[in-house]
Amino acid sequence: MFPQFGATADTLSKASTMVFRIGTDAHLYDDPDDVSIAPLLDSKFDSEKCEALKRLLALIAQGIDVSNYFPQVVKNVASQSLEVKKLVYLYLLHYAEKRPNEALLSINYFQKDLGDPNPLVRAWALRTMAGIRLHVIAPLVLVAVGKCARDPSVYVRKCAANALPKLHDLRQEEHALAIEEIVGKLLNDHSPAVVGAAAAAFASVCPYNLSLIRRNYRKLCEILPDVEEWGQIALIGILLRYVIASHGLVKESIMFSLQCTESSHSVKDGSDADFGQVKESTDMGGTCDYEFVNMVSRCYIEGPDEYLSRSSYANRESFQLTDEQFTSGKSNDDVKILLYSTSPLLWSNNSAVVLAAAGVHWVMAPKEDVKRIIKPLLFLLRSSNASKYVVLCNIQVFAKAMPSLFAPYYEDFFICSSESYQVKALKLEILSSIATDSSISSIFKEFQDYIRDPDRRFAADTIAAIGLCAQRLPKMAHICVDGLLALTREEFVTKDFGFGDQEAGILTHAILSIKSIIKQDPPSHEKVIIQLVRSLDSIKVPAARAMIIWMVGEYSTLGEIIPRMLNTVLKYLAWCFTSEALETKLQILNTVCKVLVGATEDVWTFKKIFSYLVELAECDLNYDVRDRVRFLKKLQSSNLVSIGQEEGTNDLPEKDLLHVVAECILGRQTRKVKAESFSYRFYLPGSLSQIVLHAAPGYEPLPKPCSLLLDDRNVPEGTSEIKKTVADYSGTDDYGTSSEGSDDESASDYDSQHSVAESSGSGRGDDSEFTSEGNDNADPLIQISDFGNASENQNGVSQSGPANLGELMSDRALESWLDEQSGSSNPGISEQSQVRISSARISLGDVGKRVKPKCYSLLDPATSGNGLKVDYSFSSEISSMSHLLVCIEVFFKNCSSETISEITLVDEDSNRALDAADKAADVNQSSLASSDNVPTLVPMESIASLEPDQTARRILHVRFHHHLLPLKLALYCDGKKLPVKLRPDIGYFVKPLPMDVEVFIDRESRLPGMFEYTRSCAFTDHIEELNKENGDSLFVKDKFLAICESLALKILSNANLCLVSIDMPVAANLDDASGLRLRFSSEILSSSIPCLITITVEGKCSDPLNLSIKVNCEETVFGLNLLNRIANFLVERTLG
């Protein structure tokens, strides 16, 4: 492949190494298959087995497939020789996935080895067994890892930690929890070596489970300096994420500066463009480039893809960091200890550790401490060439964000001739961004040396860097331009020698730099332009010529002298037009036109030149030139006419449109463009993504500040937090006056007779009473009226309110909607429908009324013995007393023929007797006010007596201790005690949380990954509905609506949710319901954590539908259980 290398290597090494090859495995590598391997494997001598295995290994090394020996090799796993074992393991790991069945044969031996007294054997066995990666043996491996995690040997425990990611890779859900548990245990290990490996396992197994870190955060920080270097890298990253998630960013840090600019930004909204420049030019002392830092820090937190995509919609502000998301680095101990324990790592011998520690300081450290990272970072540049490049990539971002940090160390970025081109280019870029007025002169001196470097590509880059420096430091502009001009006059660039490209590149870059410097302040560089124009004759490179010609056109009206030169210059250009290159030709045409537009004198000469050029160009060989000239001619013709008119009569001020266009295109000076277009992408320092500049798979931005929730944070401490919130609640609000405005009446006094009646009205029991109150809705399908408000008041279900009522729907649905609504005279509709411009969203107004919660039996007349029947259903009401309580409606019915008296329900454990009812009021008060535990069951008003066939209804406020486990209650009647069980329904452990779709989607996007759970199930309820409709031809209902309706009804009857929106299917096919999407929102009663539910329908309208249910909720366990519950009741057939 490379003869020049091959030849030297061969001759040199052959002779010299012959001697040394004796006794090595050389012959095995050279001719691995010169003997038959199979019999050797079956040999009874370990040495022969070894040789065979080595031969196999040699074949593997050379890329030859030797998996056919697998069965014979596996047999040797039983060998007592460690060397044979090791070689077998090497072979086994290479092929296990290819030959899973045979690999299984070895499992027994591994299990035996796991009990070996030699820790090395145990560790090897575990490593290999986990490395085999077969799903079938995953449970065995899990047990083995669990056992080894308790092994006395540190090394074995370390290998157990390393085995966890292997297990996790198999993606077996049922083991996830067990794996996380082991990770937690190993993180708590007392040996630093194990903690390091456990940190690496944590990062790949459960990076979001930061609660594991919380438990021993301090200990981890303290142990960090002793952890092995590789583990340090992983652990630093985890600790950083944890601190940000739990405490937020640090106020004094660089990342905070975005906050202060935020406000100033909103003030000087318009002057956005110069804002950046002002800052940039004044960042000499201590300050930094705020806009840049702002963007960097946002990219860190949100990930650049998300950030940039949002910024294109011009609503960058939507992501606001509030003050609470910042913490003070000086007072927060967790932040301090992290910085304290990472700062010595800046002296580590391992460059990856240094960079990781520097990253923590960059993000978290107070501004004045950030400089601590500079020297270590610069010292890294002295390590290997490969890491130099990576470190420079990171320094580049730091230096751009805060040039003052690196400005004093500019000498470290001076370039050595031995460095690779990439390193040189990076150094140049850093130099040009950290140059200051004081350092610029020595930097320029360096640059002058670089221009003479034999690497011409690098020399060209240097020239570009000079241009950048001059733009940053306007004071230096004149010197730069003079230097660059001198360069353009040098012989080597102007003469065309054949080694073309490189020298041409230098000239082009020089002119480009001059051009960009001039652009900043044209009047002061008038002479430069003149000099450049005069050198046109000697400059041969087309790109450079084109640029100079462009400048002629651009600055044709500038100053005194240039306009006078134009005559000659244009003649010269016209004269050499035919011999020019394409880009120059195009530029000449443009320039002449521009001059013509702006010209005040000599117009006729210019016109003549133009028409001469037009004639030339129209016959040009290149179609681009021909097209361009045709276009310009057309534009100019009108212009010429108008000029003529002006000259002649001067009384036709009215210019025609074409002329205006010509003005716009050719006449205007180009506007100042913002110096830097901020479209860079930034990834966390030290990450792979930062080097390759795209998000590598698995890249995660920093967690949202303070996203680790407060009460989530306090789980181990028990319920103190809950108690506190209860206390707050009772302190600020009398329990009687609920803050929930809409439920005011129903919630206010739960024990008054009135409220009972009303809630029974709102209740799921009797619709009839209710519908009479509402409008006469012949078709209850889509209801867009203020009736929605009415129903909302009574019925928490549709609390989403009018916001989602008038949203539009698919064409068909729209028509039917128009038909139906024409009758009803509701002024609100038209307004709403005008306001809401939504592509395909529908809403169901009145489903709430038809919601029928499920009734469960608490006591059967048969079992109770005295004919008392007790049913209960969960109410959508929200308990006004405590957010831990769930409201339950209980229906008592006397099925016997005798009167039953003194019926009451109490908590089984409670000692309070029958007369609890009297105490109810003060019990409530005392229990809540004293911030005591909320009672399991707020004592209910007892029923004095129940006549035969009479029914009574009570509302119970119950506190379930667990959302799945039933609650044991005691029912007293006639003095008898009957034990009953109240089964919780997780669907009612939430309360509706009204929000609009945008909010919903936004929140949903913030709960990705482990906060998102999906399941799918089938749904058939609608079929019946559709069939019913088919028979009834009076209404031709939209099938989609029917599905939506039945689906929504089903869900709302089983859970206390708020319907946010319904998206119509995207498919045009009328029978295809795929894409129909319902969104429900709610928040968990006890913790007020939002819980978002999305149901997506797939399948044909008339067939059983396939639903995929998605729950986004921070409380993982709750979310999963809720998801299961929803899936279960959706599958259930509705009875009746």
Binding site: T17, L28, R127, A193, W347, Q422
Partner: protein, 415 residues
């Protein structure tokens, strides 16, 4: 998480592959790699992180061997690179240098080493001392033994005790008859002299190398007379951070054998021990070269093995260079190398001659950079001085030795 490591020879051959995770990497990635090396040349070869269509590649090139590691997921790139550097260090330590043959000859050891060094793509044991205990390095004795008996195992059958201790770098309880510690200051001087002859940058990068043969668990402290001149430092994991932070004292339990205790940097030095004055004047298609080398004698030690290297500019047709001392060679890739050795007492070494430029060229517009090499024994040019070395748990007799050495690092003179 690294997925695979390839060892490639300079001729493009895959000498070894070691798959690390369940996601196997096909060898074709190496073909892709070589295709790009051929089409893009050296600039590709010097890129440490490469995004190929399927994998991210980290490459480290040592002595003509390319260490290529692949990953598909986000991981700290320096971790990959640093690990590959460690692998190459360990291998060259084991095999006594790196080249194609020596790797092929000892492929079994390479496999065994790799298997111990990395597990599931995450580094496992990288401490050379422990690896040595787990896998015996090849030596003459074992080689002879294997020839004679046909049987020798280089895999140790016990777990090194150090893996479990809290000082994983030190083998447990070695015993020595003579307790000795040698401390070497090895410094490299980096300097840039610009074409006006001014010293742009002059700094020293130094290492404190310790070779310790001490019984038991020795606890050493090393202090410098003038630690304030150190600009920045990096430590071996054995060094305790806090004593350094408070008193600039190195307190450590050394690994057994030779290791790099710390590396340091001293910046802004005022002078170089050697001066090089190149003069190039070109006219009428010819360029006269004249280079003078001399000593600024202020430290009293002799300067050894002085060399001068430079790349002839590409626009040169032929060169005729001669020197009054030492030998001048022009190598195939237009590198001119002048080895002087020691500077004679009676004359100043000079190199002179003419370069013939390409036909159209009147005068030279690109100028070579001269790279200087030298070695001075017995002097640490940074001026760093070791104050004392103490052993806390003093054994009966301890022999201490100190040495110093300065070499040229990136010593460049522009013309």
């Amino acid at each position: 998480m690294l997925q695979c490591i390839f060892l490639l020879s300079d001729s493009g051959e895959v000498m070894l592959e070691k798959q690390l995770t369940g996601h196997r990497v096909d060898r074709s990635i190496c073909d892709w790699f070589w295709d790009h090396v051929i089409s893009q040349g050296d600039s590709f070869k010097s890129q440490p992180v490469i995004a190929s269509p399927t994998h991210y590649l980290f490459q480290v090139v040592r002595e003509g061997i390319t260490f290529l590691a692949c990953t598909q997921v986000e991981m700290p790139p320096l971790m990959g690179i640093e690990f590959l550097c460690r692998v190459s260090d360990v291998l060259s330590d084991y095999l006594g240098g790196l080249n194609e043959d020596v790797i092929k000859d000892n492929f079994v050891i390479v496999y065994e080493l790799l298997d111990e060094m990395i597990d599931n793509g995450f580094p496992l044991t990288t401490e050379p001392n422990i690896l040595r205990e787990m896998i015996a390095p090849p030596n003459i004795v074992s080689k002879v033994l294997s020839v004679v008996t046909g049987n020798s195992s280089n895999v140790s059958d016990t777990l090194p005790g150090a893996t479990g201790s809290c000082i994983p770098w030190r083998a447990a309880d070695p015993k020595y008859a003579n307790n000795e510690v040698y401390v070497d200051l090895v410094e490299e001087m980096d300097a840039v002299i610009n074409r006006d002859g001014a010293l742009v940058k002059c700094e020293v990068y130094g290492e404190v190398r310790v070779n310790s043969h001490l019984s038991g668990l020795p606890d050493l402290t090393l202090s410098f007379a003038n630690p304030s001149i150190l600009d920045d430092v990096r430590f071996h994991p054995c060094v305790r951070f806090r004593p350094w932070e408070s008193h600039q004292i190195l307190s450590f339990v050394p690994p057994d054998g030779e290791f790099k205790l710390m590396s340091y940097r001293v910046k802004k030095l005022k002078s170089t021990p050697i001066y090089v004055k190149p003069q190039l004047s070109s006219d009428a298609g010819k360029c006269r070269v004249n280079v003078l080398v001399g000593i600024r004698n202020d430290h009293g030690k002799t300067i050894d093995s002085i060399t001068l290297q430079f790349q002839l500019p590409p626009c040169i047709l032929s060169a005729d260079l001669t020197s009054n001392t030492g030998t001048v060679n022009i190598l195939g890739n237009k590198t001119c190398s002048w080895s002087i050795g020691r500077i004679p007492k009676d004359k100043t070494p000079s190199l002179s001659g003419t370069l013939v430029l390409e036909s159209e060229l009147e005068r030279l517009h690109v100028f070579p950079t001269f790279r200087v090499g030298f070695k001075i024994m017995g002097v640490a040019l940074s001026g760093l001085q070791i104050d004392k070395l103490d052993l806390k748990t003093a054994p009966s007799r301890l022999y201490k030795g100190f040495r110093a050495l300065t070499r040229a690092g990136e010593f460049e003179v522009r013309s």
